[in-house]
C-alpha cells in the first residue's frame, strides 16, 4: 500500500515537476557521490594533508587565517630558500588560500567550530561536488538535460580528476577545475545570449580561475581560439563580439590584480593570442560595419590597403617589442608544452618532475577508462549538430587531448571535457535507442512497432541499452577501484603489506620531521633535496635551503652539487650556506622506490647545469657501460659522493633480506658496493624507524685545526 501511495504521490505531480525532481535527485546524488568517493584516504588513514605542495598551501592558508590578508600579501618568508628568502605574497596564486579562509571564517561565524586543517582537507572534495553541478549546467547548454546528468555522474568519479582532488590533496587544481568549467559555462552562456551580464560573470569566473591556478593560460588561449574559429567559419556575430570584448577587457584588468600575474597579460607571449584576437574582433566588426555602408568595389580597395598597412605596422611593432624585451620570451614550461623534448634537453629542473613527463597510453585508459572510447563518439555527435557552443567544446576536447599527451599533469584538464563529450555520446545514443524500446506501457499499440524497414528494432535497442549499461557499470567499478587503490594514498604515511597479509604503516616522515622540530635549534638550517622542502617548513618548522617552488635554479643546483660531491667538497658548500642538518630519504631497507638515490641523477644533472657545478659531469656517475649502479660495479664518483655516503652509512652491516648478504639494497636489488666507510664531516643525528628518513648533523670545524 505504501508503495502504491508513494507512486500516486509521485504521479500526482505534473510531468515537469516529476522531471525536475528526478533531475535534482540524480544531480544531488552525483554531487554527494563525488564528495564521498574522495574520502578513502581519510577513512583509511586520517584527516591529513597529502604529498608536498599541499603542505605549503596548508601552511600559507594557516598564515592567512591567523594573520589576515594584508600580512599575507606582504609575507616575506625567511624560513625558505635560506638565505635568499621568498616573497610568498607575490609568488603564489592566492585563490585557494582565500577560498578556504573565507569558508573557515564563515563557518566559525556561524559557530561551527572547525579546524583550518579540516577545511583544507575537505576543500577539494567539496569543490568537486560543485564541479559536478557546473558540469551538468555546461553540458545542458551544449546539448540537453540528459547529457548533462550523464556527464555530471561521470565527472563525479572520473579518476583523472580524482587524482588531484581526494580529501587531503589540498592543491590549486582542486578548485581550479571548478573555476575553469564555471568560466566555460558562463562563456557559452555569453556567446549564446550575447549579453553583457553573462560575459561579466564569465570574466569574474576567469578572475577566480587566474587567482587559483597557473593553468589559466590554457583558458585564455582556448577562448580566443574559439572566437577565431567562429570568425573563420563565418559564425561571427554581435553576440560573440560583445561576449569576447567584455571578457577580454574585464578579464585582463582583473587578472592583473593578482600580483603573481602582474603585467604578464600584456607582456608575455602566452597571452598575446588573446590580445591579437581581441584586435581582430574589433577589425572584423569594423569591417562588417564599413561593408554595410559601402559598395562592394570601394570596399574591396579599402580593405586591401588597410590589410597591407596594418599587417606591416603590426609586424614592425612586434619586432621592436620583441627586440626590446617587452614581450617576454616564452617560458620553459610553455616550450615543453609544444615540444615535449624541449625540457628534457634544456631544463633539467622541469624534466625532473614526474608529473611533467609525457603521458603513457596506459595512463589514459587508467585515468579515463570508457571515456577514451566514448570521446570520439561525443565529438561525432557534436559535429553532427554544429553550433557555436559545440564548436567550443570540440576545440576544448582536441587541444586538451594534445596537452594531456604532452604532460601527465594536464590529464586533469582533459578529464572534464572527456566526461562532457562522453555524456553527450551516451545520452545521444540512449536517446536514439530508448525510443525504439518496446516497453509495455499504457499506450500498448504504438505505430512504430510494425516498421518493416527496421527488423529486430526492439532487440537491437535492447542490446544497445544493455551494452551502455554494462559500459557504465564497468566504468563505475573501475573508477572506484582506481580511486581506492591508486589515488588515496597520502604519501606522507605509507602502507605496505607484510608477509602475513597484515598492513604495515610507515610513518617515518612525520616521525623524522617531528624529531627535527623538537631536537634541533629553532634557527637550524636543513639541507635536503627540494622535494621535501615544503614538508620540512610546514611540519618541522625549520629553515630550508630549497623547496618545491623551484624559482631559483642556481640555488637548487648548489644543493645538487653538494649532494653529488665528495665529502670535503660538499663541506665547503655546506659551510658557505650555513647548513646545520642534512636530510635524505632512503628506501633501501623498506623497498620504497622514490628515494633520493633514485632521484640522484637529477641532482647530478641539475647540479652540473650551472657554472659553479661545471666540474660535475653526469658521465662520471655511470659505469663504463653507461649504467647507473650502486653495487661493486658502480663508478668511484658515485660510491664516494655525499649522497651515497649519507644513504648507505652503516647500511653495510645490516641484513635486509633472507638469503642475501649484508647491505642488500631492496630498491635497486643489489648488494651495495662501498660498505665500510666513515663520515668525516657529518655525524648521524637521527634515522627513522624504517630508515626512510636519515638526518645528519654537519660537524663544526675541528677544534684543533684539522
Amino acid at each position: 500500500m505504501g508503495v502504491h501511495k508513494n507512486q500516486s504521490w509521485f504521479f500526482r505531480m505534473t510531468h515537469e515537476k516529476q522531471d525536475t525532481l528526478v533531475k535534482m535527485l540524480i544531480l544531488s546524488m552525483a554531487a554527494v557521490l563525488s564528495f564521498s568517493t574522495r574520502l578513502f584516504s581519510v577513512l583509511r588513514f586520517e584527516s591529513v594533508i597529502h604529498e608536498f605542495d599541499p603542505y605549503f598551501n596548508y601552511r600559507t592558508t594557516k598564515y592567512l587565517a591567523e594573520e589576515g590578508f594584508y600580512n599575507f600579501h606582504n609575507w616575506f618568508d625567511d624560513r625558505a630558500w635560506y638565505p635568499l628568502g621568498r616573497i610568498i605574497g607575490g609568488t603564489i596564486y592566492p585563490g585557494l588560500m582565500i577560498t578556504s579562509t573565507v569558508i573557515y571564517h564563515m563557518l566559525n561565524f556561524l559557530h561551527i567550530t572547525i579546524d583550518i586543517r579540516n577545511v583544507c582537507v575537505f576543500l577539494a572534495p567539496f569543490f568537486s561536488s560543485l564541479t559536478t553541478i557546473v558540469t551538468y549546467l555546461l553540458t545542458k547548454e551544449l546539448l540537453n538535460d540528459g547529457a548533462g546528468l550523464v556527464a555530471a555522474a561521470m565527472i563525479a568519479i572520473v579518476p583523472g580528476y580524482i587524482s588531484r582532488s581526494v580529501a587531503g590533496s589540498y592543491d590549486n587544481e582542486g578548485i581550479a577545475i571548478f573555476c575553469m568549467l564555471l568560466t566555460y559555462y558562463f562563456w557559452i552562456k555569453a556567446v549564446k545570449t550575447g549579453s553583457l551580464f553573462w560575459s561579466t560573470l564569465c570574466s569574474l569566473a576567469y578572475f577566480y580561475m587566474v587567482s587559483s591556478w597557473g593553468g589559466y593560460v590554457f583558458l585564455i588561449n582556448l577562448i580566443p581560439l574559439h572566437v577565431l574559429v567562429l570568425m573563420f567559419t563565418g559564425r561571427f556575430s554581435h553576440r560573440v563580439y560583445v561576449a569576447y570584448s567584455a571578457l577580454y577587457c574585464l578579464g585582463t584588468i582583473l587578472s592583473m590584480q593578482i600580483s603573481f600575474v602582474g603585467f604578464q597579460p600584456v607582456q608575455s607571449s602566452e597571452h598575446m593570442a588573446a590580445l591579437g584576437v581581441f584586435g581582430l574582433v574589433q577589425l572584423h566588426a569594423f569591417v562588417n560595419f564599413v561593408r554595410s555602408k559601402m559598395t562592394t568595389e570601394h570596399f574591396n580597395v579599402l580593405f586591401r590597403t588597410l590589410t597591407m598597412i596594418t599587417g606591416v605596422v603590426f609586424a614592425a611593432l612586434a619586432a621592436v617589442l620583441a627586440a626590446s624585451g617587452k614581450i617576454a620570451p616564452w617560458t620553459g614550461r610553455f616550450y615543453s608544452l609544444l615540444d615535449p623534448s624541449y625540457a628534457k634537453n634544456n631544463i633539467p629542473i622541469i624534466a625532473s618532475v614526474s608529473e611533467h613527463q609525457p603521458t603513457t597510453w596506459s595512463s589514459f585508459y587508467f585515468d579515463l577508462q570508457m571515456l577514451v572510447f566514448l570521446f570520439p563518439a561525443g565529438l561525432y555527435f557534436c559535429f553532427n549538430k554544429l553550433t557555436d557552443s559545440n564548436i567550443f567544446i570540440i576545440i576544448y576536447g582536441v587541444t586538451s587531448i594534445y596537452f594531456a599527451g604532452v604532460m601527465v599533469r594536464l590529464m586533469l584538464v582533459l578529464a572534464p571535457v572527456m566526461c562532457i563529450l562522453s555524456g553527450i555520446a551516451v545520452s545521444s545514443t540512449l536517446d536514439t535507442y530508448m525510443k525504439n524500446l518496446d516497453v509495455v506501457q499504457k499506450g500498448k499499440t504504438s505505430k512504430k512497432k510494425t516498421d518493416s524497414s527496421y527488423t529486430f528494432k526492439n532487440e537491437v535497442a535492447w542490446a544497445v541499452v544493455m551494452l551502455m549499461t554494462f559500459f557504465m557499470m564497468t566504468y563505475t567499478f573501475h573508477c572506484t577501484w582506481v580511486t581506492s587503490e591508486a589515488y588515496s594514498s597520502p604519501s606522507i604515511v605509507l602502507a605496505a603489506r607484510s608477509g602475513d597479509g597484515g598492513r604495515i604503516i610507515f610513518d617515518d616522515f612525520r616521525e623524522a620531521y617531528f624529531w627535527l622540530r623538537h631536537n634541533t635549534p629553532e634557527d637550524a638550517k636543513v639541507m635536503s633535496w627540494w622535494d621535501y622542502g615544503y614538508q620540512i617548513t610546514a611540519m618541522a618548522n625549520r629553515t630550508i635551503l630549497v623547496d618545491n617552488n623551484t624559482w631559483n635554479n642556481t640555488h637548487i643546483s648548489r644543493v645538487g652539487q653538494a649532494m653529488a660531491s665528495t665529502e670535503d667538497k660538499a663541506y665547503e658548500i655546506m659551510r658557505e650556506l650555513d647548513v646545520d642538518y642534512v636530510l635524505v630519504l632512503f628506501g633501501g631497507l623498506t623497498g620504497y622506490s622514490s628515494d633520493d638515490i633514485n632521484k640522484f641523477l637529477w641532482m647530478v644533472r641539475i647540479g652540473g647545469s650551472t657554472d659553479k657545478g661545471a666540474h660535475i659531469k653526469e658521465q662520471d656517475y655511470y659505469t663504463p657501460n653507461g649504467e647507473f649502479r650502486v653495487d661493486r660495479e658502480g663508478s668511484p664518483a658515485m660510491l664516494n659522493c655525499l649522497m651515497y655516503k649519507m644513504c648507505y652509512y652503516r647500511f653495510g652491516s645490516v641484513y635486509t633480506e633472507q638469503g642475501k648478504p649484508t647491505g642488500y639494497d631492496r630498491v635497486r636489488n643489489v648488494e651495495i658496493g662501498n660498505k665500510d666507510f666513515e663520515l668525516d664531516v657529518l655525524e648521524e643525528a637521527y634515522t627513522s624507524e624504517h630508515w626512510l628518513v636519515r638526518i645528519y648533523k654537519v660537524k663544526d670545524l675541528d677544534n684543533r685545526g684539522n
Partner: protein, 405 residues
C-alpha cells in the same frame, strides 16, 4: 735534581702571578684532570718529555679533551722526548722530531756549547711579531735553546710559529752522520710552537726544557758567529710572556652586549626592510689583570653578509661601544651581522647575528611618481570623454530620427 728545583724561578714567577701550583710526577697513580665531568685545573704544565705512559687517568685523550674543554697547556720537551708527548703534539698539528735528535746549528751556537753545537742561540728576529705572545718590545737579547726541533702541519691554519730556528739550523741526531734528509731544516724548524684552538684554548710547545731552567734564565749568552756577549739571556722574559699568553692573562677578548636597530629606534624590529638605515653596536672587552676593560683598536670590521658580504665597514669606538651606521642594500633575504676579528695573539672574536631583510610592503611604495602622471591624465580624460560621449549620444538621438524623415 728534579725539574721542580732546576726550574724554580719559572715556577716561582707563576706563583707570584697568583697561580696555585700542584706538582705531580708523570707516573703518579693519582693523576687526573677531571672529576665528575669537571676539570680540576685551569691550566696544565707538562715538563715530562720522556714519559711513555702517564699514571692515573691521564692520557693523550684526557689531555686533548682538556684542551677541547677550554683548558690551556704549556708543554716543554727535550731530546729525550717520548711517544706520548709526540702524540699530544700531533693532535695539535705539531710534529716533534724523534727521540735523540736535537736542533743543531753550526754557526749560531753558544760559546759554552759542549761541542755538538746543540746549545744554540736563537735570534730574537725569528720571534713571531705578536707582542701579546712574546712580550712587548722584547729586549734585543738572544735566547738560549737546547732541545728537539718541531715542524708545523702545513694544513693546520691555527698554528703559530712563535720562534723558529735560523736558516743555518737543522734537526738531527748529533751523534750520527747525516745520511738522510733531516726532519726539519732552516727556518721551518720550530723551536717554540703554539696553537690557539677554535674554542680559544691555548697550547704551547717548547722544544727545549732547559729553556725554562734557572740555569738558562741567568746564564750569559754569546753567539759564536757574531761574538756579541750578553750578561743575561732573554729566556726569562720570553718564558714569562709566553706563559702569560698561554694562561690567558694577555690577549683575551670577549664580546659584550650586541645591539642593532633602525636609526632613531631603540629595539630591533622583527625584520628590517630594504634600504633602511641601521645602527649596529657591539661591546668588545679585553681582560686586564682581573677586570674587563674596553678594548681599543681601529681595525675591527663589520660585515653584512648573505653568503657574500654586501656591506663591509669599520667599527668605530664611541663611548665604550663599537658602532657602525649603514644603509641596508636593496637586496632582501636573510642576512647576518658578522664581526670576525682574528688577530695573532688575541682571542678569535666571532659574532654573528641573523636578521631578515624584507622587501617593501605594498603600502611602502611611492604613490605619485612623476612618470605616472600621463597615465593618470589619460585615465581621467578617458572617463570625461565617455561621459561627454554618452551625453552627446543621448542628445543626438532626436536628430537621428529626424534625418530619415
Amino acid at each position: 735534581m728534579s725539574v721542580r728545583e732546576t726550574h724554580s724561578i719559572f715556577f716561582r714567577s707563576l706563583v707570584d702571578r697568583g697561580y696555585e701550583l700542584t706538582f705531580k710526577s708523570a707516573d703518579d697513580s693519582s693523576l687526573s684532570l677531571a672529576k665528575y665531568g669537571e676539570f680540576l685545573f685551569d691550566n696544565l704544565v707538562l715538563f715530562a718529555p720522556s714519559v711513555e705512559e702517564f699514571g692515573g687517568t691521564l692520557s693523550v685523550d684526557a689531555i686533548t679533551s682538556f684542551i677541547d674543554g677550554g683548558g690551556d697547556v704549556l708543554i716543554g720537551v727535550d731530546s729525550t722526548v717520548g711517544d706520548t708527548m709526540r702524540e699530544i703534539a700531533m693532535e695539535c698539528g705539531v710534529e716533534i722530531d724523534e727521540e735523540g735528535t736535537a736542533v743543531i746549528d753550526h754557526l749560531n751556537y753558544d760559546v759554552n756549547d759542549e761541542g755538538k753545537h746543540t746549545k744554540i742561540v736563537a735570534d730574537v728576529a725569528n720571534l713571531i711579531d705578536a707582542p701579546t705572545i712574546v712580550g712587548a718590545s722584547t729586549k734585543q737579547v738572544p735566547i738560549l735553546y737546547q732541545g728537539v726541533g718541531m715542524v708545523a702541519d702545513s694544513d693546520n691554519p691555527l698554528i703559530l710559529e712563535v720562534l723558529t730556528a735560523s736558516s743555518t739550523a737543522y734537526s738531527f741526531d748529533p751523534d750520527e752522520a747525516v745520511k738522510e734528509y733531516p726532519h726539519a731544516v732552516g727556518k721551518s724548524t720550530l723551536l717554540i710552537a703554539a696553537i690557539q684552538a677554535r674554542n680559544n684554548a691555548r697550547v704551547a710547545f717548547v722544544g727545549s726544557l732547559d729553556f725554562f731552567s734557572n740555569d738558562y734564565f741567568s746564564s750569559a749568552v754569546q753567539s759564536m758567529q757574531d761574538g756579541k756577549k750578553f750578561d743575561k739571556s732573554g729566556n726569562q722574559e720570553l718564558a714569562t710572556a709566553l706563559s702569560k699568553w698561554v694562561f690567558k692573562e694577555k690577549g683575551v677578548l670577549r664580546v659584550g652586549e650586541v645591539k642593532h636597530h633602525r636609526v632613531g629606534e631603540k629595539t630591533p624590529p622583527s625584520a628590517y626592510t630594504i634600504m633602511e638605515d641601521v645602527i649596529y653596536t657591539i661591546v668588545i672587552e679585553t681582560l686586564e689583570g682581573d677586570s674587563w676593560v674596553s678594548y681599543k683598536a681601529d681595525d675591527i670590521q663589520l660585515e653584512f653578509v648573505r653568503i657574500d658580504p654586501f656591506v663591509r665597514t669599520f667599527l668605530s669606538l664611541k663611548g665604550g661601544k663599537y658602532e657602525s651606521v649603514f644603509k641596508i642594500p636593496d637586496v632582501y633575504g636573510v642576512f647576518q651581522f658578522k664581526v670576525d676579528y682574528n688577530r695573532v695573539g688575541f682571542t678569535h672574536l666571532f659574532k654573528t647575528t641573523q636578521v631578515s631583510v624584507r622587501p617593501l610592503e605594498h603600502t611602502q611604495y611611492e604613490r605619485f611618481i612623476p612618470s605616472a602622471y600621463p597615465y593618470y591624465a589619460s585615465a581621467f580624460s578617458m572617463m570625461l570623454g565617455v561621459l561627454l560621449l554618452s551625453f552627446v549620444f543621448l542628445h543626438l538621438r532626436e536628430d537621428m530620427k529626424e534625418k530619415p524623415e
